[in-house]
Amino acid sequence: METSEIIESLNLIFRKVLKRENIVLAEDSTARDVPGWDSLTNMILISEIEKNYQIHFSFREIVKFKHVGDLCRSIIEKQE
């Protein structure tokens, strides 16, 4: 699966969870760039992503994600 494909599906998850239709993620997007994405909503987003891809992130993996690109790479690794 390509990073661009993952970002497309992440866009849908972020829009659904954060209830904002105008979210467009990029590889270098961080919580600062996305309104509503903060420590309060982060774990709900992670939970939706895990459900969507049928994967599991450990706590240490989650806190080490610096931007969307890190998240995509981890999803790709886990799917391989």
């Binding site: 209830k19 709900i44 989650i62």
Partner: protein, 463 residues
């Protein structure tokens, strides 16, 4: 030995000169000895307790790192953190429960215990290696400029500085002195001026009118902020004079537009600590419960944050209020977005700042009152219509105190506004000598003429 006492000034000067007179390899020992003297000067038992926690966490981290498999690794970590938490609870509640004066709550224990837990957790997570040098670790735990009331330092931020002590540059020293001056203004020109009048109301709410209760409630956040951020400025400034950078604790909390935002700006070293070591692990473990997991984690985190401040149900309720308000903010996100579109950005920002301040001030009633019944009495009797005379509005303060503290508050807010738009103190350094020295003299005269000397205690010393 309070920061604002002749003993401390004398002590600080001796440490400062000794630090720069000895060779570089002895500097950390000067700081360590000074820290032990500083703590032991309060009471020898405080030093023994602090040494005990320090040595225990030093040895525990080495054992955690040496664990052969994951099972031992986790067991040792949980046992070590559990011991520190248990000891902290015993120290905190021994005096309260037994009613004996024999048990004294150890000064600074809430702060250095949290540093020890932070260190053990980072070692457990593999983010930090267990410290080999005992003097470096002892200094991380006991450094006197942050011992009494923080900031709660992370090992990754302070230990590398202590391992490689560098003398402060001239700029660092002058910057440190300016921070100390700002802290002094906040503490003795603002906080200490209004403190007796606010305390008078909180200590005897039954004797106060409705208007006095409202004014005390609305002014208490200002007193608490000026007191604690004044202390923090002095701690940061003093540490800077030894070449050490401590973490900031406040970032203009009164411009926060939500309670969640307020906690990213108020007592930051504590709120980031509970976020990283309590809230995030909890919310990660309960993430499959979706919103319910988030609400559970938030409420438990803020109750823990409340309980950190003291024993008693008042602190539990104080924490619970913060948690409930943030849960409401998460749930009402769409409504807030809609309101922002309707009111426009500026009006919405003003409204949000006011609401956040009022909610915080009301929650602090539980933080400040001695009993729950006092706190509920206080809230029930808040009223604009119940007053004795117009003097109720200024809580009986003289016109002189009203003007001095009012101007000091205005100047502090202006100073922080400009600090947020670029470092005002560094800009001052670039001004001509006449301007700089006029400002310095003005600050010194302000402190000596309008400062209130003699009230040596800081509010956060009790935690």
């Amino acid at each position: 030995m309070s920061f604002i006492s002749l003993e401390f000034i004398f002590f600080f000067c001796i440490c400062f000169f000794a630090y720069y007179l000895v060779g570089r390899s002895y500097q950390k020992y000067v700081l360590l000895l000074s820290s032990c003297v500083f703590i032991g000067y309060h009471q020898l038992s405080f030093l023994l307790v602090a040494m005990g926690v320090t040595l225990f966490s030093y040895i525990a981290a080495r054992h955690i790192e040496k664990a052969r498999n994951q099972k031992y690794f986790t067991t040792r970590y949980v046992a070590s953190v559990g011991m520190i938490v248990l000891f902290w609870i015993m120290d905190r509640y021994a005096g309260t429960l037994s009613g004996s004066k024999f048990f004294l709550f150890s000064l600074g224990i809430s702060f250095y215990s949290f540093q020890a837990i932070s260190y053990l957790t980072e070692v457990y997570w593999g983010e930090e290696k267990a410290e080999r040098s005992l003097p470096d670790y002892m200094l991380y735990m006991l450094f006197f400029m942050k011992f009494l009331s923080g900031p709660i330092e992370r090992p990754g931020s302070l230990l590398p500085q202590l391992k490689n002590l560098r003398p402060a540059t001239y700029e660092m020293m002058t910057y440190g002195l300016k921070l100390i001056a700002v802290g002094l203004i906040k503490k003795i020109v603002l906080a200490d001026q209004i403190a007796p009048y606010i305390s008078g109301i909180f200590d005897a709410p039954h004797a106060a009118s409705g208007v006095e209760l409202i004014m005390a409630c609305m002014l208490y956040p200002v007193e608490l902020y000026a007191d604690f951020s004044g202390y923090t400025d002095m701690a940061l400034g003093g540490a800077l004079m030894f070449g050490l950078h401590l973490s900031p604790n406040f970032n203009r909390p009164f411009v926060a537009q939500s309670t969640a935002d307020l906690w990213r700006r108020w007592h930051m070293s504590l709120s980031y600590w509970v976020r990283d070591y309590v809230y995030l692990p909890l919310s990660s473990a309960t993430r499959h419960w979706k919103q319910k997991g988030l609400i559970f984690s938030l409420l438990l985190t803020f109750v823990a944050l409340g309980v950190w401040h003291g024993s008693g149900w008042t602190f539990v309720i104080y924490g619970l209020i913060q948690g409930l308000v943030i849960v409401y903010e998460v749930k009402a996100r769409n409504f807030r977005d809609w309101l922002k579109r309707v009111l426009g950005h500026n009006l919405f920002a003003t409204w949000s700042i006011l609401c956040t301040y009022v909610i915080f001030a009301l929650s602090l009633i539980f933080f400040r009152c001695d009993t729950i019944s006092d706190a509920f009495y206080f809230i029930r009797h808040l009223s604009f219509t119940n007053y004795t005379n117009c003097k109720d509005v200024n809580l009986g303060m003289s016109d002189h105190i009203c003007i001095v503290s009012g101007v000091a508050l205005f100047l502090v807010l202006v100073y922080e506004f400009f600090m947020s738009r670029g470092d005002l103190l560094k800009r001052l350094e670039r001004q001509p000598a006449v301007v700089r020295w006029s400002v310095y003299y003005l600050i010194v005269f302000t402190i000596f003429i309008y400062g209130k000397f003699g009230a040596n205690n800081f509010i956060y010393l009790q935690f």
